[in-house]
């Protein structure tokens, strides 16, 4: 395992006590003949924020989507290698992708609330899964967790589309947490938001770490440095066999190590802004 090799004596945190939620073993993702990302090995630990950083087109989002089987929806998408979730093969023959997505939620780059009321947006997931908990309680709990309750508690029946961008994204986070997932996947959640809204969501992520495992794809290196515990740096390189640019994992380590003492030259170049 990459991480245990890098344990330094001065580290207070040791990796042995962290449980791995996902274990990615030699995974490559293809869209028909195009190899989007190749031979990835990493693991995601519980109650940590793991960031995927790297330039455009290096397979970060593709990799993220393998964790909740969203790539299944794309025709021609397939995966080689193994991806386990709490030890279970996520792509096994008896695993239902719908059930997977109820445990592993996703927040997208552009806020995408349903054209329904704020209340109905949050209630959507629980209504699908069926729940014994009181719906009003679920809605309040989710909105509290996303830091949105105070702002919208008096207008729960208003359309979600009337909220600002930052509020809509927090609504999407609340919607994702309403079904009590284990993991939250966030695909550049702040890229469509202004700095203040971004700051609020970053604060939220640090709070949510207590209850969820978070994996975030971000273009913003500083964001990764601010919020994540561990960071994976991806890049795209020309594959000599196929003459295509394929994404690959360059380095995966504790965030502090990646940013202060990267081992790979490519990582260093990206971090210092020599390319990107």
């Amino acid at each position: 395992m990459l991480v245990t090799e890098r344990k330094r004596v001065s580290d207070v945190e040791t990796e042995e006590t962290a449980t791995a939620v996902f274990e990615v073993d030699d995974v490559s993702v293809y869209y028909s003949d195009f190899r989007a990302v190749t031979d990835v090995d990493l693991d995601i630990n519980e109650h940590e924020i793991t960031a995927f950083i790297g330039p455009s087109g290096c397979g970060k989002s593709t990799m993220l989507r393998t964790f909740n089987r969203m790539n299944d929806l794309i025709e021609g998408a397939r995966m080689t290698g193994t991806l386990t979730y709490h030890g279970i093969d996520l792509y096994g023959p008896d695993v239902d992708p719908v059930a997977v997505r109820r445990r592993i939620g996703m927040v997208f780059q552009k806020p995408n609330p349903f054209p329904k009321s704020i209340y109905d947006n949050i209630a959507f997931g629980p209504r699908l899964t069926g729940t014994s908990e009181n719906m009003d309680d679920i809605v309040e709990r989710s909105l509290q967790g996303a830091g949105l309750w105070e702002e919208v508690k008096d207008r729960l029946k208003a359309s979600a589309l009337g909220l600002s961008g930052g509020q809509q994204q927090r609504l999407c986070i609340a919607r994702a947490t309403a079904v009590n997932p284990d993991v939250l996947l966030m695909d550049e959640p702040c890229s469509a938001l202004d700095p203040i809204a971004t700051g609020r969501i970053e604060e939220l992520m640090l709070e949510m770490k207590e209850s969820y495992t978070i994996v975030i794809v971000t273009h913003n290196m500083q964001q990764a440095a601010r919020v994540s515990d561990r960071t994976a740096f991806f890049t795209a390189e020309l594959d000599p066999n196929t003459d295509q640019r394929t994404g690959l994992l360059v380095e995966f380590d504790e965030t502090t190590s990646i940013f202060s003492n990267p081992r790979d030259e490519r990582t260093e170049n990206y971090i210092t802004g020599r390319f990107g």
């Binding site: 909740n68 969203m70 929806l73 719908v98 059930a99 997977v100 997505r101 109820r102 445990r103 939620g105 996703m106 997208f108 552009k110 995408n112 609330p113 349903f114 054209p115 329904k116 959507f124 997931g125 699908l128 899964t129 359309s159 589309l161 009337g162 999407c172 919607r175 994702a176 079904v179």
Partner: protein, 307 residues
């Protein structure tokens, strides 16, 4: 410095020639709109002025009277009844089949040769002349299925018109479903909804305004069609009332507004001149009413979905 300013000023000055071209175009486009509008006004004017003897004298009586030999008593009530029944049958048959078919084509059928072939067929069928559908109705609903439909009945007429508008319903529903942004579907799948749950709870509610507009406009079109129902046999010009029950009436001779207009035009103009025009006004009212319902429902749904 001064020289640059002068040249700059010259460059920034409004180009009259380019602007003139724009203005001419704007004028032509407005003219096109006015011509279309004028045509509509002309139709309304002609209908209302020719129908004036009846409209001023006995409008309500005209709408509620049955067909009669004497011009003073003849009315279009049976035509209205027939058109309403036809509209009802078209709605009951074409909408579920058309909307269901469109959902299948958009959501479940893959991009295979067969599904693409089906799409081409549907789009071609939308352009087939309506009288051809009349022949289809005659052969299938009146003759082959005569036992079930009662032959030349309003049921056969309704089914024929349903076939006529089915391609249009399918196409407009498909377009409405396609217009739903993929990010909404992604959000649905991301939360762990199945394909059907995404369709039912996200796609269809979002597509509803477009689907609604398409369906109501199809009914308006069906109500106005004359050729298919002429062929299917609304030649009698009357509903057999008297001792027949409602169900039996739907299986025997029928009429509808376009039929009655046609029948009135065949009569001598001195005594029957205003009747055709009056029936035209009646059918215009029916069509306008339906279109207004469509616009109203769409506006309400749009308001609910936007903010």
């Amino acid at each position: 410095m001064a020289a640059i300013t002068v040249e700059l000023r010259e460059q920034l000055r409004t180009r009259r020639s380019a602007d003139a071209r724009g203005q001419v175009f704007r004028g032509l486009l407005m003219l096109a709109l006015l011509v279309a509008f004028a045509a509509l006004i002309a139709v309304l004017y002609t209908a209302i002025t020719r129908a004036w003897p009846i409209l001023s004298d006995r409008p309500l009586d005209f709408l509620t009277s049955n067909t009669s030999q004497s011009p003073e008593k003849a009315g279009v009530f049976q035509g209205i009844k027939g058109s309403v029944l036809l509209a009802g049958i078209v709605a009951a048959v074409a909408f579920p089949i058309g909307i269901g078919g469109a959902i299948y084509l958009e959501e479940y059928a893959g991009d295979t040769f067969f599904s693409r072939f089906l799409q081409v067929v549907v789009r071609n069928l939308a352009g087939v002349p309506s009288i051809v559908y009349g022949l289809l109705g005659l052969a299938v609903f009146v003759q082959s299925l005569g036992g079930l439909t009662g032959g030349r009945s309003v049921i056969s007429g309704g089914l024929t018109l349903a076939c006529l508008v089915l391609p249009v319903v399918i196409i407009t529903t498909q377009e409405a479903i396609r217009a739903v942004p993929s990010e909404l579907r992604q959000a649905g799948y991301g939360i762990g909804a199945t394909h059907w749950e995404v369709i039912r709870s996200i796609v269809l509610p979002s597509a509803a305004p477009g689907i609604l507009t398409g369906t109501v406009l199809s009914i308006a079109r069906a109500v106005g069609e004359a050729a298919p129902i002429l062929v299917v046999g609304a030649v009698s010009g009357f509903f057999q009332t008297g001792t027949l029950s409602f169900l039996e009436q739907t299986q025997s001779f029928f009429t509808a507004l376009p039929m009655q207009i046609f029948a009135f035009t065949k009569q001598p103009t001195q005594t029957w001149g205003a009747h055709a025009a009056g029936a035209s006004v009646a059918i215009l009212l029916v069509v306008f009413a339906m279109n207004s319902v469509a616009i109203y429902m769409r506006a309400r749904l749009d308001k609910k979905l936007r903010k």
